[in-house]
Each structure stands twice: as C-alpha cells, then as structure tokens.
Amino acid sequence: MLPQLSQTVYGKPLVYLDNAATSLRPKTVTQKWVEMSEIKNANIHRAVHAMASMATDEYEGTRQAVADFIGAQSAENVIFTSGTTAAINLLAYSFGELCIREGDEVLIAESEHHSDIVPWQLLCERKKARIKVLPVLDDGRLDIEALPSLITPGKTKIACVAQISNVLGLVNPIDEIVRICHDRGCPVLVDGAQGIVHNTVNVNELACDFYAFSGHKLYAAPGTGVFYVSPDWIHKLPPYMGGGEMIQTVSWERTSFAEPPHRFEAGTQNFAGVPTLKPAMEFAAMMRDRETELEHNAVIRFVNDMLVADRRITLYGRGVPGKDKTGIFSFSVQGAHHEDLALLLDKMGIAVRSGQMCAEPLMGRFGITGMVRASFAPYNTMQEAEYFIESLRKAISMLQ
C-alpha cells in the first residue's frame, strides 16, 4: 500500500516517523500522478482538445472533492496553491492590501511555523503595522485566557493560529479562538497543515475565515496545496499574482479578472499533482476508520506514556492522548544533543526530524536550541512505536 516502506536503510527496515514533515504516499496516489503525466498531460482550462478536457475535468473534479472533504460551502471557496506557505503568502499580500493600514496589528500564536510568521512580518514591514503574539503556556497549550485582551477592536485585523502546532502536536481549540476573535470583529486564519491530517475538518462549522493546508502532508503529491476562503471574503480579496488564466479580458488600458477561485490561480497550475489529492483524501478517510483510529490512539498513548515516564526526556506539548495530544512528539534529552540522537536513530533505520522545526520563536520560548521530533501517522504500527522507544533508549545510552 505504501511503496516507500518496501526499502531498507543501512540494512534495516525503514521506520518512518517524519510524517509531520511529509507523509508517505500510497500507491493510489503515485498511480494517479503517473496517469496525469503519461495520459492526461495537458494544460488545463485553455485548449479544447480531448486530453486538455480530461486534465481539466480531473483538476476541477478535485476542487469539488476538496470542498466536500473540508465542508466548504462550494468549490468556489477552494483555491489551489503550491502548499500552505504559498496560501499564507497569498493571504498576507491580498488581505494586507485590502485591510492593513499603518498602526494595525496582526495577532500570531507563539507556536506558529515560520511560514505563518514571516509572510506577516513582511506585510507589517510594508504597511508599518505591528505583530502581536498569543503566548504558549508551559504545557504547550495556547493562553486562550489572554486572547480577548490581545485583540484591539478595529485595530487587530487578523489572528493567525495553527490548528495543530508542527512541534507541540496539540489540537488547539479553534472553535473557541474563532468565537473570541469574531466577537471582537477579527477574522481568523487557521494553518491546517498538521490539522487536516489528524482531524476531520469542517471549515463551515469551524467558521474560520481562512484555512490552509498542504497536499504532501496529507499523502498527496508535493507542490499541491489548498487555500479555503470563506464566502465573506472570497469576492473581496484582490488578486495576488497576475498572469494567464486569472483574467477575463486584458488590454493595455484595463484588465478585468476572472471570478474566484481562478482569479487566484495565475499561470500554469500543478495539473499533474492536484488530482492526486483525490486518492489522498480517500486514503485519509480510510486512515480515520474506527479500527485504524483505535490502533493509532493506542500508539499515541504508548509513546506519550513512555516519553513522559523517562526522567531524562523533556516532552514539549503535554496533552491528553486521544483527546488533544496527537502523534507529534517533540522532545529534548538531558545530556544528549538532538542532532546526535537523530543521527543514531537514522542508523537504526528510524527517520525522525531534529533541529528547530521551522519554529525558532518557540525554541526560544522553551530556552533550547533544538528538539528531536518523532511524528506518527495512522499507518505507523505499535511494533514500530516499541522499536522507536527501544532504539531511543539505546541512542541515549550511547551518548551518555
């Protein structure tokens, strides 16, 4: 089912625990990818020939499937991007042009990924606006109690929060955050890069204004991404990138733009990659069936308990497994450098991430230079979890 797992590394079976960076891809996804390249290889929306219409059908069919998958009001609200980063940059630019003035504020959670920080910093620099930070508590949870006082009505123009931090692996209370922000007239961007993998998402129920995620973390091809824009905003946001296919008519005097979502999809799109989202979402649905979910929760509980019980280990993001703690485990070990641990685990066949995880402000918050992150997907087995814990203990003892 997952072709990547048929290989060995350093003579050992591969145990892939870097799912928060990118997921493995099932055969149905890679097959669709090949099909799009070998059979339906034509640029979408433009030509009238048969191959082009097959490619366009695949692409637009995927848009509707994504809308259904995330509970969007319609396919019109679904913009394809190259990933979460591109989606947030699009928003920061477009929303920034529309709404941000000198002295305004952008509220960002302390645990955000760089891709939900830097585009806003660029915007704030351009507009002489200011960034405010929603703090993270010691256990990794967001300081929701501080949220109301951080929003200055009329001045705080947008709040940006990840559904699940890529470091802490805790499910943030998005519905509560949205309610508090909306009560004060502040729209909310949800970075769903990790959230979409772990939760069934309904953007309509969440009532968020914007939701972004990447295909490659959700089993689809890299270079695919989804940017959901709510009905309140989809016709208001000005275009970001100009180019082919985002226009209605072009003349030297005046150019009129296509209707959304195409208005936001300038130039040739990733027409080979986007249709892989369809089998990817089917796989994601399969990964959420009752049995798989029970097994995944058992794995999360086991790893969580083992890491918490080991006094040498500091786990960041303390939550309740199966409730608000997902399979993302970031930790540091007394007397063992995160990079050494990752290198030794690699030699035991285990792929983990080490370093700052694109969240330097959060590293600073916990006063460390880096962490090891083991991120489990629903396809990871209990046997792999046990091997990971055993290997981690061995690696620690080699370093101490």
Binding site: Y10, E339, L344, S354
Partner: protein, 135 residues
C-alpha cells in the same frame, strides 16, 4: 607520522566496523576523548558556519606548524572534527593547503551523513583550508 600515514591510519580504523552504528559509536568515543576546549574561547568568530550543531575551531601557529583545537555541543560532530584535528594538527600550511581531504570520503563519512551534516563537514574542511591559506 606523515600526513599520508595519519590519514591511512584513520581509514584503517574505520574499516574495522561493518555496522554503521559501530562507526558512530567509535566517532562518539573520539568526541569524548577530545581535549577540553576552554569556555572563553567559544566565541562567535571561532564558530564554523554551516553546521546544524555548534562547532568551534581554533588554531595556533608554532614553529611554522598549525595546531588545531575544536569543540562541539553535539558528540558525533565532535568526533568528526576531532578526526580532522588529529590528522591536520602539526602540519605546515603548505601541506594542508595542498591536501584534498578525500580520506573523509574513504571512510564513508560524507555520503552517509545527512545533507546538513555533510554541509557541516564541508564547512569544517573549508575552514581548515582557509586557515591554512592564511585568509
């Protein structure tokens, strides 16, 4: 021991290990054996840029020979830099500048380290060569 002999010794030491994990265990032990590096010399200008972990490299010239000292906050990196320190300390600038550092490939370190780590190793080598060139 000549530079050629020193390099050959390292290559031979590493050839004893069949398992990758054993090679790393050996690197860790080398890291632990490295002479202590004074805290006050862990300054920004002695830091090698391009490594994921922090690596400090210092150099003294005595009687026309270069003597290196190094440290890192990661043990495996420390093991790697200690190999370089051991092989290249006590050599002349000309000798180091003329060397191709290919022995690190012979022990299989470069290709089996992560890209960032290989970048770190490359940065260590570049720094040593730069010092030898007097730049």
């Amino acid at each position: 021991m000549s530079l050629q002999e020193a390099k050959a010794t390292v290559v031979e030491d590493f050839s004893m290990f069949d398992e990758w994990l054993d090679k790393y265990e050996y690197l860790i032990s080398l890291g632990k054996e490295l002479e202590p590096f004074p805290e006050e010399r862990k300054t920004e200008d002695r830091l090698i840029k391009g490594c994921q972990s922090r690596v400090w490299l210092d150099c003294e010239e005595r009687e026309g020979k270069l003597f290196f000292a190094a440290d890192s906050d990661a043990l495996i990196t420390k093991g790697i830099i200690s190999l370089l320190v051991k092989v290249y300390s006590g050599r002349s600038r000309q000798e180091i500048a003329a060397d191709d550092f290919s022995f690190v490939e012979e022990i299989g370190l470069r290709e089996n380290l992560s890209p960032t780590r290989a970048g770190g190793l490359a940065a260590m080598i570049t720094t040593i060569k730069r010092i030898a060139d007097g730049k």
